[in-house]
Symmetry: C2
Subunit: 336 residues, 2 copies
DNA sequence: CTGTTAGCGCTTTCAA
DNA sequence: TTGAAAGCGCTAACAG
């Protein structure tokens, strides 16, 4: 048994020599080709073991179109919602045998462009992106001009039609408002209005349509910010007005939890005196007191679906564009 | 302006031809070599722009030792703690210009081995691993036999000395117990004892040593499981005993939150009737009611440190092994 | 300062 | 069923 000196890696040629065959034959063994005789295959396999051979995909990629890598570009990895999404992508990848680069744009379009560029240099087979707030179309247009398979998640860039995974927010909000109405609430306010991306707009318009449809009078929405704060003063004014709300549906769980805390400061108990419903079902929602009723937006499932969609696109680049819509689940707990 | 047909990517040779120079010169421009004349550089740069050239690192990597990629193998990406850690790694990588593969072992040593194998095939420059429970030494021995730079985080494999980032749990627990004693608690129980990995053992022994050192009588620990459950029946028996505990320090925040919920069921209010302290400071801790006092284990900082350590190891493979210990922070809220 | 040449480790015709 | 030869896109060593 000979081992190459200096940690230099053993190549297919080494294996071939060791097994007494040509490089081409060894290559066929590598890829389980039926063309090679069982005995030869065995010899080669043994040589690989003996030398501790590691397949060099980098080299193989030079000759093939696919690299078996994809890129996942998120607007904020630290957010538990996105980590669940990542887990979903990872799960699908583990099944398909590809491996995933992760990148964090931190809501910066510049950083996002840099990351995507870097991923392209690494020859990823495709990209899953949750676009940073303020992303412009040009980058994405370039991506599909180049024919790089690409799936958008959650947020849609305007004037764009491509593979896309999103959540049927309207359905979730409809379920939530139905529940509120059934439990006697009549004045539901929406907290966390912001016009930053399609998901935020979809949530608000889901509320508006549900109100119309359930015969509830919509109230003016309370503004929110992209870092999950909301206009507490405006909320206070509304609570002190002559016709205060009796319940709230919030842009996300983080805002909902803040609202509950604020209500407590005002001596109101969420669930009894005022109903609060969040969105996303982050781990903190189940741990809060009272536990937060919320609309679960199924991040793991979103990630899994996006990875599958990307795989399909990579396999057939010209297939028609597909939009997958994940059904949310209404999670009834104690805050509403 | 000519564009290659069929989405075939433009190579450095195309650029060189377009600019009227040789491939080698173009390559130098690519890497900002001072050897090339300003005018030539400009010509080449323009040609790159014109053709929409994308640097192919895969090809470059065939000639160089480094690929500018690292692998991050975690035991559970969906856990918010690890997503914060990932964000830290990403941050360091963004600075150093490398890019990060992410893999999830899901606490399965087999899956972990498969993922690491896959990453090696992609020629990663190094690996950051939080070993799955039950990992055996062989895989890791092989990794450093091959001289693949490698940093362990949080959990230590027995009989091993290599680059390692961990948290000074003992110091955090000491601060927590000091606080409990100062606020009049005398009987502190440890909840979540499990002998699964070094971090779990370090947390329990931190409790034992702090008790000794602060003159508190240690109580028999309540058992926990790796999926963050604990032996509630045993806890009940202890509460009903003749000498019940007046406070608890828990293996992690998840267990601590469950303990608070259980106390409430028994009519006890955390913070007033019984003190509860968690560990890690996950987002849910701040959102709980009462808000959870905890020992923040700084996951982002851990990830950042690990990435830096790995970078140093990659740069100088023979440097002496380094262990970095992150200082935790005691976060005083309302549960204790 | 720029060009020539020789590979990196693999896959892929094509021929034997 | 196996082998020889060419080449993927780049960098490194050397010569000019």
């Amino acid at each position: 048994m000979k081992i190459k000196a200096g940690g230099a890696s053993v190549s297919l040629l080494d294996v071939a020599r060791e097994a007494g065959v040509s490089r081409a034959t060894a290559s066929l063994v590598l890829r389980d080709s039926p063309l090679v005789a069982a005995a030869t295959r065995e010899k080669v396999r043994e040589a690989m073991m003996r030398l501790g051979y590691i397949y060099n995909r980098g080299a193989a990629n030079l000759r093939q179109k696919r690299t078996g890598t994809i890129g996942l570009v998120l607007s904020n990895i630290a957010n538990p919602f996105f980590s669940a999404l990542t887990a979903g992508v990872e799960q699908a990848n583990d099944l398909s045998g590809s491996v995933c680069f992760i990148a964090n744009s931190g809501e910066s379009p510049e950083r996002q462009a840099r990351q995507i560029q870097r991923l392209r240099e690494h020859n990823v087979d495709g990209l899953i992106v949750c676009p940073a707030i303020g992303s412009d179309n040009r980058l994405f247009e370039e991506i599909d001009r180049l024919g790089l398979p690409f799936v958008q998640v959650l947020r849609e860039i305007p004037d764009t039609t491509r593979d896309y995974v999103t959540v049927d927010y309207a359905a979730g909000i409809d379920a939530a408002l139905s529940h509120l109405r059934a439990s006697g609430r009549k004045r539901v306010v929406y907290i966390g209005d912001m016009d930053v991306h399609s998901a935020a707009r979809a949530r608000l318009s889901g509320y508006e349509r549900a109100c119309a449809h359930l015969n509830l009078t919509p109230m003016p929405a309370i503004a929110g910010t992209r870092d999950s704060q909301y206009d507490e003063a405006a909320f206070d004014r509304l609570l002190d007005s002559t016709s205060p709300p009796d319940s709230a549906i919030c842009y996300n769980d983080i805002i909902a939890l803040a609202v509950m805390t604020h209500l407590r400061r005002r001596g109101l108990e969420a669930g009894r005196d005022f109903s609060v419903i969040g969105m996303d079902d982050i781990p903190a929602a189940g741990a809060a007191y009272p536990t937060l009723t919320t609309i679960a937006t199924m991040p793991t499932r979103i990630g899994f679906a996006a990875a599958r969609l990307l795989e399909k696109r990579i396999a057939r680049p010209t297939r028609r564009v597909e939009q997958e819509v994940i059904a949310p689940e209404f999670v009834l707990r104690h805050s509403a």
